[in-house]
Every structure is written in structure tokens, then in C-alpha cells.
């Protein structure tokens, strides 16, 4: 069929089954927007900043597991999208971003709104394309979606010069992809799996170390089956919250810098780490030489470059978690779960000794209380997104996540401003869920223009602002490590959050008491409008436990058990 390049872009998006595209028009992408106007195959959401478009597509992808799509123009449109690409890249999120580019003949001439998009995005995309002819456009689009979702997923940029969107040619969307140099390994090596199984059978203190790869591979049921069958205890990374389910007795909690005591002690004392889709991030391992010091390591990962990158691995298995576990679990038929009973008891005692706790207050709302409260009031029906900082850690620690894809946050890059637009994407994908962006008074301002988007499209997400008038996480480090010199972290000067939300067509709530909190949340859920819940919390609450940067996991600063010391107020 004959059509323009712009129409081909739209047809490819429809053919890939994408129903929602987030974007922002501009000169170089105008022909595509003209076709978007004419088509009915997908909906387009106009964010108010390109960064938010990419985060929204990202949130959509994380909530659904499908490829998210964002569209931006050349130059500043593209550069604004870079943070979004990098965020998705660090967390391996399948996404296709289509950017306009100046006409082919102007490339390299410093044309208006020209920037080398493939050059800039090379280190923060899984792959990128500068389309060089109309003939290759259908194949490039097909490959972009294929690369984004296959293997270890990631964002792919397709940079389309304006003249190619105008040209008319034959369109046939390819049925399949053949890239000789790109063949992801899905099947784990049988021999390696058998060796790993033997190691599990010989271990006395094995530990499942569950990472975001389990979510990406949709392998939750298999991981739960593995732990159920063997009764091996498990720790989750920040990216894997929800995989085991909060109520699962075998789940110790989250490990790492702000992991709970029993999780970090388990990792310090285990004799066999079974790593599933985790990548030994520095925020997880602490001091590497002390990390899992007494353990052999089984590392299952679809990306061979993750294996042996930071720790030496005894049983490397390159493959998709789902396919590896399908082979591994039947081989564990003769494991007696009693074998690990003593180990589980030790860990339970650790948890009783130092449970995940905080000191609540009647006078002021504690941020941890607020998180637990939304867990009680909306629980399973919620999707929680977050920005980056203390609120993110409190949400990860205290919300009872019971399924994967219920928790959406920027783990790898740590992008402030991610949560609100990501919530828009998640809510668009699941309109019946209550979507709450847990945020802070610092982070929320980084993409607050999305109030307008949310109001216009009636995307009623709740922004729970845990307001301590500080850039809290940096403030916490300044308290601990910089002798309380609060350099540029005091946010005492504040906007009127309630009025701000209302000015943009949303609802604002000022919350200072627990009663007001419950009432505001109840009202916010019933409304069909976006809202800011501005919750005043105590200023100097710290995220604990904490492993100081570079320290060994077992050296944790623990929360006080005694409520007498309220610290500074």
C-alpha cells in the first residue's frame, strides 16, 4: 500500500498493538502528528513536557509489560526526552521513542532544532536508529519494537528525518525480524542448571536473591513455586518488590542500603546465593568484599555482561528466568525443605530482634505511618509509583506489595520527577486501579506541569506528597556524614500545593492529622480528578535501617526502639 512515512509510523504503532502514545509535537515531527490527527487506531496524550511523555510511556510499560511508546520532536524535544530514556535504560524497560529530525539534507548543518540524537542517546538506549531512507522505515520500526521487548528489554530510539515522513512509498510491515547479530539467549545451559541444582541440594543456608529481572520475565509464579517447594527464604531488591508477596512467610524483605535487618544479615551469612534477575547493584551489595562472603553464587541473568561484572560467580546461567526455572524446579523434587529449617529459624530470630519498625507519633504524621495507612486503605487495588528520595525508600519498606508491577519506581537512575508522569501511564493502562504517586516536596516540583495533563485527560492519580520541607534524603546524609550542614536542602519556602493543584484543574488537600489523612484519601479515591495530598510530616525522620555508603551490609544503623528520643523538631 502506498503511504507517507508519517503514516507508516502510525501504521506500525497500530500494528504493534499500542493503544496509547505519549508525546509532544514540534516542527520536525509535524507530519506524523498530522497523521495522528487522522487516525483512530491509538490515543495520543499530550504531556506538558517531553520528559514526562517518556516517563509516562515508561510507567505504562512497567504496569503492563508491553512496549511503551513516546513521540517527541527534534532538538530540545529530543534532549528533554533523554532523562526518560536513561531512566528506562537503567531499569531495562521496553520502550520505543520516536523523535523527529531535521530533513536529511540539513543533517550536519546546525539546522534549526537540530541535534545529534543518535549520538546523544547511544549510551542510554539499548539501540537507536537514524532512519536514512523511506524504504528502510518499516523494517527499522519493526526492529525497534522487537529489540525493545526481546532479550534484556530496553528503550530504543528511532530518529526520523522530516523529509522521510513526507515521502510516499510502498508500506508492508514485516511479519518477522532477522538480525543475524542479535540473538538473545533464552534457554539456560542444561549442564549449568544441573550443577546449580546440585549446589542447592548441598547448601545449608541458601538464599533467593530476587531482582527486577523476575518482573521483566513475568516469572513470579515460578519463583514463588521454587521457594514454596524448597522453603528457601528470599530477599527482594528495590525493583522486585511484590514478587514474593508481602504476606509470604519466606520473604525476609528488601535488602541493601535501606534493607531490613534480617535480609541484610541473611545475605551476609548465606552459603549459597541464588540470584534471579538481579545485578549486584552497589546500593544492594554495600562493601563488595564483605558481600555474601561465605557463599557460592548462582547467577541467572539474560544479560551475560551482568554475570561476573561485580562479584565472581560459581554457577553462571545465561538465560531467561522463566525458561531456566521451568527446567530447574522439576530437578528439585527430592529436596527436603526441612534441610533449611535451622537456617530459617536463625533468620526469623533476626527479624524478631530487629523488625522493620519506626516510632509512631500522635502529634505529627510519620511518613512510614502514611505509607502503611495507604496499604491498609487501598492495599491490593493500588498501583504505587514513586519519585526518588526518602519517600521512595519508605514506600518500598512499608507498603504491603503483593504482586509484581504494583510498584513502579526509578531504581537504577534514581530520577526525581519520574513518579507523577509514570503514574499517568499506569493509570491509563489500569483505569480501575487506584494509582498513587508517593512523592516528596522536592521531587513533585520536577514534573508538576503534569497536573494539567492529568486534569485535561481526566487521569485521576493521587500524588501523596510526604512534605518534610527538606530534600530529605540529602538532608539525612548531611545529618549523618556532613555534621548537619544543611547545604541547599532546606525547602522551607514552599508553593501553596493545594492552590497549585486547583489552579491546574485538580484538587488539593492540606493534611496535618491522621483523621484528615483518612478523610482526604477517601475523598481523593472517589473523585475523578488528579490531586495533591500535601501531608505535613515530621521534618527530621530518617530512613532506617541504613548501611552507610561503602560499608558492609551487616553494619547497619538501626531505628531506635525507644520512643523517648524524638530528635530534632
Amino acid at each position: 500500500m502506498q503511504m507517507s512515512g508519517a503514516q507508516m509510523v502510525c501504521e506500525a504503532i497500530i500494528a504493534e498493538g499500542v493503544t496509547t502514545v505519549f508525546g509532544y509535537p514540534g516542527g520536525a515531527i509535524m507530519h506524523v502528528y498530522d497523521e495522528i490527527y487522522k487516525q483512530e487506531g491509538f490515543e495520543h496524550i499530550l504531556n506538558r513536557h517531553e520528559q514526562a511523555s517518556v516517563h509516562a510511556a515508561d510507567g505504562y510499560a512497567r504496569a503492563t509489560g508491553e512496549v511503551g511508546v513516546a513521540m517527541v520532536t527534534s532538538g530540545p524535544g529530543f534532549t528533554n526526552a533523554v532523562t526518560g530514556l536513561a531512566t528506562a535504560y537503567m531499569d531495562s524497560i521496553p520502550m520505543v521513542v520516536i523523535s523527529g529530525q531535521v530533513p536529511s539534507q540539513l543533517i550536519g548543518t546546525d539546522g534549526f532544532q537540530e541535534i545529534d540524537a543518535v549520538g546523544i542517546s547511544r549510551p542510554c538506549t539499548k539501540h537507536n536508529f537514524l532512519v536514512r531512507s523511506l524504504e528502510e522505515l518499516p523494517r527499522v520500526l519493526k526492529e525497534a519494537f522487537y529489540i525493545a521487548r526481546s532479550g534484556r528489554p530496553g528503550p530504543v530510539l528511532v530518529d526520523v528525518p522530516k523529509d522521510i515522513t513526507v515521502d510516499i512509498g510502498e508500506f508492508k510491515y514485516p511479519d518477522s525480524v532477522d538480525i543475524p547479530s542479535y540473538k538473545p539467549t533464552y534457554k539456560g545451559n542444561k549442564r549449568q542448571i544441573e550443577k546449580a541444582v546440585e549446589a542447592i541440594k548441598l547448601a545449608k543456608k541458601p538464599l533467593l536473591y530476587i531482582g527486577g529481572g523476575v518482573v521483566l520475565s513475568n516469572a513470579t509464579d515460578l519463583v514463588r513455586a521454587l521457594s514454596e517447594k524448597t522453603q528457601i527464604p528470599a530477599v527482594e531488591t528495590l525493583m522486585a518488590r511484590g514478587v514474593m508477596g508481602a504476606k509470604n512467610p519466606l520473604l525476609l524483605g528488601m535488602l541493601g542500603m535501606h534493607g531490613n535487618y534480617s535480609s541484610n544479615m541473611a545475605m551476609s551469612e548465606t552459603d549459597l546465593v541464588i540470584s534471579l534477575g538481579a545485578r549486584f547493584d552497589d546500593r544492594v551489595t554495600g562493601k563488595l568484599s564483605e558481600f555474601a562472603k561465605y557463599a557460592d553464587i548462582i547467577h541467572v541473568d539474560i544479560d551475560a555482561s551482568n554475570i561476573g561484572k561485580l562479584v565472581d560467580v560459581d554457577f553462571p546461567i545465561v538465560g531467561d528466568i522463566t525458561q531456566v526455572l521451568e527446567k530447574m524446579i522439576p530437578l528439585l523434587d527430592d529436596v527436603n525443605p526441612d534441610r533449611y529449617q535451622a537456617w530459617r529459624e536463625i533468620l526469623n530470630r533476626y527479624d524478631e530482634l530487629h523488625p522493620q519498625s519506626y516510632v509512631d507519633s500522635d502529634e505529627v504524621i510519620k511518613p512510614q505511618w502514611a505509607i502503611e495507612r495507604i496499604g491498609e486503605l487501598v492495599g491490593e487495588n493500588a498501583i504505587i509509583t514513586s519519585d526518588v528520595g526518602q519517600h521512595q525508600m519508605w514506600a518500598a519498606q512499608h507498603f504491603p506489595f503483593d504482586r509484581p508491577r504494583q510498584w513502579i519506581n526509578s531504581g537504577g537512575l534514581g530520577t526525581m520527577g519520574f513518579g507523577f508522569p509514570a503514574a499517568l501511564g499506569a493509570k491509563r493502562a489500569f483505569p480501575d486501579k487506584t494509582v498513587i504517586n508517593v512523592t516528596g516536596d522536592g521531587s513533585i516540583l520536577m514534573n508538576m506541569q503534569e497536573l494539567v495533563t492529568a486534569a485535561e485527560y481526566k487521569i485521576p492519580v493521587i500524588n501523596l506528597i510526604l512534605n518534610n520541607h527538606f530534600l530529605g534524603m540529602v538532608r539525612q546524609w548531611q545529618t549523618f556524614f556532613y555534621e548537619k550542614r544543611y547545604s541547599e536542602t532546606d525547602l522551607s519556602f514552599q508553593p501553596n500545593f493545594k492552590a497549585l493543584a486547583e489552579a491546574c484543574g485538580g484538587i488539593g488537600y492540606d493534611v496535618t492529622t491522621k483523621a484528615e489523612f483518612d478523610a482526604a484519601l477517601k475523598d481523593a479515591i472517589e473523585q475523578d480528578k488528579v490531586c495533591f495530598m500535601n501531608v505535613q510530616t515530621n521534618r527530621f525522620e530518617d530512613v532506617l535501617p541504613m548501611v552507610p555508603s561503602g560499608g558492609a551490609l551487616f553494619n547497619m544503623m538501626l531505628p531506635q526502639k525507644n520512643p523517648s528520643n524524638e530528635g530534632e523538631k
Binding site: 543518535v118 549520538g119 547511544r122 549510551p123 539499548k126 539501540h127 537514524l130 536514512r132 529489540i147 538480525i179 543475524p180 547479530s181 542479535y182 544479560d303 551475560a304 555482561s305 561476573g308 561484572k309
Partner: protein, 159 residues
């Protein structure tokens, strides 16, 4: 021990022949602060692929990461970390014609080369040999006042 000692290494990278592939490969080195000692690239006959040869320095662990990261690039077809290889490098040297040409010719012959071009004021010699011997050749040629030296970079093939 071998895991941490930095040694000279040669890797071959077989890539799909497309415009941005060299940038992807070199950016990977640059972004991680790895050094490239020499680099050559040429199309592989009767295919749509190119052969990149990179000489670099690094420990075994760093090399393992480089190899894996290279392999992760979409247009990279194959990465060969050379162990048992035949390795050659070419060099062109320009000498003033006033120098002793028979001496230069003998020197070049000792390193598998010879004089390949003679102009009004200059002669050009070409030598192709192992990189270590190329280094020796360049040292030895200094006494004939070379005015320009262009090294070609390493090519290698596994034995």
C-alpha cells in the same frame, strides 16, 4: 594473579556493516575509560559485515567485561579475544632522497618490506610485520632522518 595484571590484548569484532557501528564500538571504550592502542576496520569480502581489530590494555576481568559489552551491541556479530594469533601491522615511512638508499632498502628488507615509491625529494618505504618488530624498525630507521611515519594499526587472525 593473571586476573588483575594489565596486559596488551588484541580482539577482533565482527560487525554488521552499517554507518554508526564504529561509533558504537569506540564509544563503549570511551565511556568506560578504556584505552584503545590501535584500531583497524575493513569490510569482510563478499559479506555485509566488517572486521574491526582492536589492540588494547587491560586485566582479564576488564577484558571479559569489554568482550561481553561489545557482544551486547546489537550490530556486533562476533567477538574474538585472540590468544594464539598471527598479528601484523603495516607502516609507511618517508625518507629524504639524500639518505643512503641502499642502507634503507636493506633495513626494510630485514623487516619484510622495501622502498615502494621514489619522488624528487623523498622515498617512501613500506614494512609489514609483527607490531613489536614494527617498533624496532621505526627505532632503527631514525638514523636515516625519516620525515613522516604512518602506522597502520594491527590486524590479527587466530591460528
Amino acid at each position: 594473579m593473571t586476573n588483575t595484571t594489565s596486559e596488551r590484548r588484541v580482539i577482533s569484532v565482527i560487525v554488521m556493516n552499517e554507518s554508526s557501528v564504529l561509533a558504537r564500538v569506540t564509544a563503549l571504550f570511551a565511556g568506560r575509560g578504556y584505552n584503545i592502542e590501535s584500531l583497524t576496520v575493513a569490510p569482510i569480502p563478499e559479506s555485509d559485515m566488517s572486521h574491526i581489530t582492536i589492540a588494547t590494555n587491560g586485566s582479564a576481568k576488564v577484558m571479559e567485561q569489554i568482550t561481553k559489552q561489545l557482544h551486547k551491541l546489537i550490530p556486533v556479530y562476533k567477538v574474538i579475544e585472540h590468544e594464539e594469533m598471527v598479528e601484523k601491522e603495516m607502516v609507511l615511512v618517508k625518507f629524504p632522497i639524500a639518505e643512503n638508499l641502499s642502507d634503507i632498502s636493506a633495513l626494510c628488507a630485514a623487516y619484510n618490506g622495501g622502498i615502494v615509491n621514489v619522488g624528487k625529494e623523498m622515498v617512501i618505504a613500506q614494512v609489514a610485520d609483527e607490531p613489536k618488530r614494527i617498533k624496532h624498525f621505526i627505532e632503527a630507521s631514525q638514523r636515516y632522518n625519516p620525515s613522516e611515519i604512518v602506522r597502520g594499526g594491527v590486524v590479527a587472525i587466530e591460528r
